[in-house]
């Protein structure tokens, strides 16, 4: 709905070819951008302008692909929405791009006008005007504008107008209270919401790739089962409603099915991977082995599934066709592997690995080649991809002590090049993060 409103009101006039900042492996030199004040004529619009500027500035800076030129250096202080910038002034302070915007009130709502300039080529490269019907949408608009700037300059799909669902944690480590919670990707407190009340233990939420539905595991009446949570209606529904534990759910790329583990009491409670069609509720068994099979994750084209299995003795990563045929081990390194997650770009698989006393989060090609570690620590888990496949979020937990102290767990963001790690703030401890598609 909101998306539609934005789409209708949004128009972009310039159609220059995308300016692509080449992103190679390794450290990326951030692109310098100047963001002028977002001008407003009265105190309300000035406040909206400040909020928007802050959101855009944070988003672009946090991506690691931009840095904002210190405002104190700005020579020109005008509103540059209607006025052509003095490009020489901006060149002098080494701003490669320049964003200017203003906010005003109209009878339809809050009007935002934005201009993006390529300073070195002295031309406008993006222009937009939109009307925000409701003040509560300001944050969304800030994220949308950030996405437009990011996409225009990097040539990659943006990821700012997205949300993160995760497990909020509080209480003693042996009686942890866990609640599903959701927030904007930047973790801003204004966007934070709890989805469950903490009465039942909840684990491992994951977003559907195409809609605002989350699948997760909940211990309702002490029965661990897979559920889906419709974020629009607030409806919760059990998916794996048969005797035996269902867990480790993930959506298929079309969001119509859930692939998960089912531990069948008639199969010695050994976890096998099943596919459940959400429309027909029919399930099909994909694996059949005496080892544990879990953590399935679809390739974005829906043809393959990567999963975790200890069929060879220790937990490793395997790939199979979507019907369970052609099972092949792909992890090659030493150590215990888990949590494989297929990149939305299709080219990489993120994973965790336990070796030499430490957890590692890394990525490998889909055939297991070119494994590289992105981050290493005592306890790391639950890698999840940004919808554009450039970043991972995961959780990092500190050691705990016999006296009950320690064990703090937090959500982190990192570029898959291994640079630009930062904490995504949460009001309490946070784990098991998962990223929504673009809203």
């Amino acid at each position: 709905m909101i998306k539609k409103i934005l789409l209708i009101l949004f128009f972009s006039l310039n159609a220059n070819a995308a300016l692509e900042v080449t992103i190679a492996q390794g450290k990326v030199e951030p692109t310098p951008i100047a963001i002028t004040q977002i001008f407003g004529a009265d105190s309300d619009t000035a406040r909206y302008g400040n909020t928007l500027r802050q959101i855009i500035n944070n988003n672009l800076t946090n991506s690691g692909l931009f840095y904002t030129v210190n405002e104190d250096l700005y020579i020109q202080s005008d509103n540059l929405v209607e006025k052509v910038p003095r490009f020489e002034d901006w060149k002098l302070i080494k701003a490669q791009f320049l964003l200017s915007a203003d906010v005003s009130k109209t009878d339809k709502g809050i009007r935002l006008r934005m201009r993006l300039y390529d300073v070195f080529n002295a031309k406008e490269i993006e222009k937009l005007q939109l009307t925000i019907p409701d003040e509560n949408l300001i944050r969304r608009v800030g994220h949308t504008v950030s996405d437009i700037v990011y996409e225009r300059i990097t040539g990659e799909t943006g990821y700012f107008d997205t949300r993160i669902v995760y497990v909020s944690e509080i209480g003693p480590l042996d009686q942890r209270v866990k609640r599903l919670a959701i927030m904007d990707q930047d973790g801003h407190l204004d966007s934070h919401q709890f989805l469950t009340d903490g009465k039942n233990l909840v684990l491992t939420p994951r977003f559907a790739p195409n809609n605002q539905i989350v699948t997760y595991m909940e211990y309702k009446n002490n029965l661990p089962r897979v559920y889906i949570y419709n974020l629009k209606t607030g409806e919760r529904e059990i998916v794996g409603d048969f005797p035996g534990m269902t867990f480790a759910p993930r959506f298929s790329p079309d969001s119509q099915s859930v692939v998960m583990s089912f531990s069948d009491p008639n199969n010695a409670a050994n976890s096998e991977i099943y596919l459940m069609d959400l429309n027909t509720r029919s399930r099909s068994r994909l694996t059949n082995d005496s080892g544990i099979d879990t953590s399935p994750s679809f390739s974005p084209n829906g043809e393959k599934i990567v999963f975790n299995s200890d069929r060879g003795g220790s937990p490793q990563l395997f790939i199979m066709d979507k019907n369970g045929d052609n099972i092949k081990r792909i992890s090659k390194g030493r150590g215990v592997y888990g949590n494989p997650v297929w990149s939305p770009r299709g080219d990489l698989i993120a994973f965790t690995k336990l070796t030499q006393g430490n957890f590692h989060i890394g990525v490998m090609d889909t055939n297991g080649n070119n494994e590289r570690v992105i981050v290493r620590d005592f306890s790391l888990e639950s890698p999840a991809w940004s919808p554009n496949g450039r970043y991972l979020i995961f959780h990092r937990q500190k050691r705990s002590n016999l006296d009950g102290t320690g064990g703090e767990v937090s959500i982190h963001f990192i570029d898959i090049t291994g640079y630009n790690e930062r904490v995504i703030p949460t009001p309490l401890d946070g784990s098991d993060p998962a990223w929504s598609p673009l809203l």
């Binding site: 661990p224 480790a248 879990t294 220790s314 705990s400 016999l402």
Partner: protein, 164 residues
């Protein structure tokens, strides 16, 4: 190696204390008695969780990444089976747990296998499956908080909970 040694010591200590208690209490625990006194002198109702803990042992321990019952574990479960025979009105839930050194999902699977190992051992020992449930808690409910082998070895466990 150290880990194994420690486990043996823990399990051994546990069994020893159970055995001693059992010998002590052996005479006055039967199906008709409603209470028995433990060695500490506290009144314990027969057929309850407390009774199971004090007089039999409510848990077994597992090796790292294993759901196989050790010899010690089997001995504990034999005693649990005998106890359950003695108190046919006591139903149980077996909980399977894992240490924190594995992924959440893998540990849920492992916890379920552990719980099922205990469940099926008791079933084979003659306990009616209608009296038993089992559930995995993965690494979500450690018995001992701590990021070292001392804690881990006690957290890799199957616990028998008397549910009524």
């Amino acid at each position: 190696m150290l880990k194994k040694l420690f486990m043996l010591i823990v399990a051994g200590f546990f069994l020893a204390s159970c055995a001693a208690t059992k010998t002590e209490e052996g005479g006055n625990v039967d199906a008709t008695s409603t209470s028995a006194s433990s060695s500490s002198g506290v009144e314990i109702t027969a057929g309850t969780q407390e009774d199971l803990i004090v007089n039999v042992g409510d848990r077994v321990f597992f090796e790292f990444d294993s759901s196989e019952l050790t010899v010690d574990a089997q001995a504990t479960l034999d005693a649990q089976a005998a106890w359950l025979m003695q108190y046919p009105d006591s139903n149980i839930t077996v909980e399977g747990h894992a240490d924190e050194r594995g992924t959440r999902e893998y540990n849920l699977a492992l916890g379920d296998k552990r719980a099922f190992s205990v469940y099926s051992y008791l079933a084979q020992a003659g306990i009616d499956t209608n009296r038993m449930e089992y559930v995995s808690w993965g690494k979500e409910r450690p018995e001992v908080i701590g990021s070292d082998e001392t804690a881990y070895s006690q957290n890799r466990r199957g616990v028998t909970i008397v549910s009524n």
